[in-house]
């Protein structure tokens, strides 16, 4: 019981931290998740994190919620999922309520806009740095390179939904696996 509580507490606190600092939503949280879940705690591998992203992309709801629930479940069952989920939403919810109640104008202050412009630059740099490792460890053959470029172009250049990319990639993988055998 004690061990279980410790796991739940760790999950809650880790995701509290992630929720408080994940700017930009969705895939922008990769550097934070990778540092906290893979490097610091060793709860999952980088590959598993990508698997979760792929699955979460096809499920309803926010990517962060789905990923938190999946990681929490793996570590501590249903309660673990709940602890991670509660952690990730706590700070953002409190902040939003405070902003909606008192600070709607706060968002238009030039100083706030400057700070957020800087945060966006930092997030972009973190993603760029994390991508190098990510591609090195997950794009291993010619098919992988093609799929990776295809995914980028479809979404970044043509503005299509990532869901179709994920579904198409899964089908390509299944077919390729079949052909190999």
């Amino acid at each position: 019981m004690k061990v279980k509580l410790k796991i739940l507490g760790e999950l809650y606190l880790t995701f509290l931290k992630i929720g408080a600092f994940m700017f930009g939503g969705g895939y922008s949280m990769l550097p934070l998740l990778s540092r906290e879940l893979v490097t610091r705690h060793g709860w999952i591998t980088e590959e598993t994190l990508l698997d979760y992203f792929a699955i979460a992309q096809c499920m309803p709801g926010a990517l962060a919620i789905n990923t938190a629930t999946l990681v929490g479940n793996k570590r501590g069952g249903v309660l673990g999922g709940a602890a991670a989920l509660l952690g990730v939403v706590m700070v953002p919810m409190a902040l939003i309520i405070a902003i909606a109640a008192f600070l709607t104008r706060f968002w238009q202050l030039p100083a706030v806009a400057s700070a957020f412009a800087g945060i966006r630059v930092a997030v972009a740099a973190l993603i760029a740095a994390a991508l190098v490792n990510l591609i090195r460890s997950n794009v291993k053959n010619a098919l992988g390179i093609e799929v990776c470029i295809f995914a980028f172009v479809i979404v970044a250049v043509f503005g299509q939904s990532p869901i179709f990319v994920v579904l198409a990639a899964a089908i390509v993988g299944l077919v390729a696996g079949r052909v190999k055998r």
């Binding site: 700017f23 939403v89 953002p92 919810m93 400057s114 630059v121 990510l134 997950n138 869901i163």
Partner: protein, 189 residues
């Protein structure tokens, strides 16, 4: 009554908005049209701007904000809880299934191409962030070069260089985010 309707509306949003937080915005648009007295002058663009610039999952931020406008703090709580319930239930079930089929050859071959695809998707997300971070909004008016925010580019290059130095790159991402905010303030980005 408002709380019940809020719960029901956001439960549906959570269930049908597939593909991340931004997918919830069309649902919010419909809600604003259907219940104009809840939201006053609030537009979806305002909700999106605040949800995207505060930390946290965009779907939850948007639900909290819209819920607060409709029914105060209880509204914010009810909307947020409703929007995450479908994700929570489905992710819990998927997690079970995943443990069971983890080692199946079909699952493994699907994931062998899913991982590179997700790497590409993350690159695309990074590209969007980079574009908004380094270029001003009015690209078309004066051409690409005039839209470049040189101070932001300089900050980007410095941070990226730091992220490749041994030792320095081990510093927690949170510090880079805070440093980015402080630098933005000091440079007046």
């Amino acid at each position: 009554m408002t709380l019940l309707i809020l719960f029901w509306e956001f439960l549906q949003t959570g269930l049908f908005a597939i593909g991340g937080g931004l997918a919830t915005l069309p649902f919010l648009q419909k809600m604003i049209e259907r219940y104009p007295d809840w939201f006053g002058a609030l537009r979806v663009a305002d909700i999106a701007a605040i949800a995207e610039s505060t930390p946290g999952p965009i779907a939850v931020n948007a639900a909290s904000f819209a819920g607060f406008y409709a029914a105060g703090i209880p509204g914010a709580l009810v909307a947020s809880i409703a929007v995450v319930i479908p994700s929570f239930v489905i992710a819990t079930l998927v997690s079970r299934a995943l443990d069971q089929y983890r080692n199946s050859r079909l699952v493994e071959s699907a994931f062998s191409t899913l991982r590179p695809a997700v790497a590409g998707l993350i690159a695309a997300a990074g590209w969007v962030v980079l574009r908004t971070a380094l270029f001003s909004a009015q690209i078309d008016a004066d051409g690409l070069l005039a839209a470049v925010q040189w101070k932001s580019v300089a900050l980007f290059v410095v941070l990226l260089a730091l992220l490749h130095l041994p030792r320095v790159k081990e510093i927690h991402p949170i510090f880079y985010i805070i440093a980015g905010g402080v630098a933005g303030l000091l440079l007046g980005l």
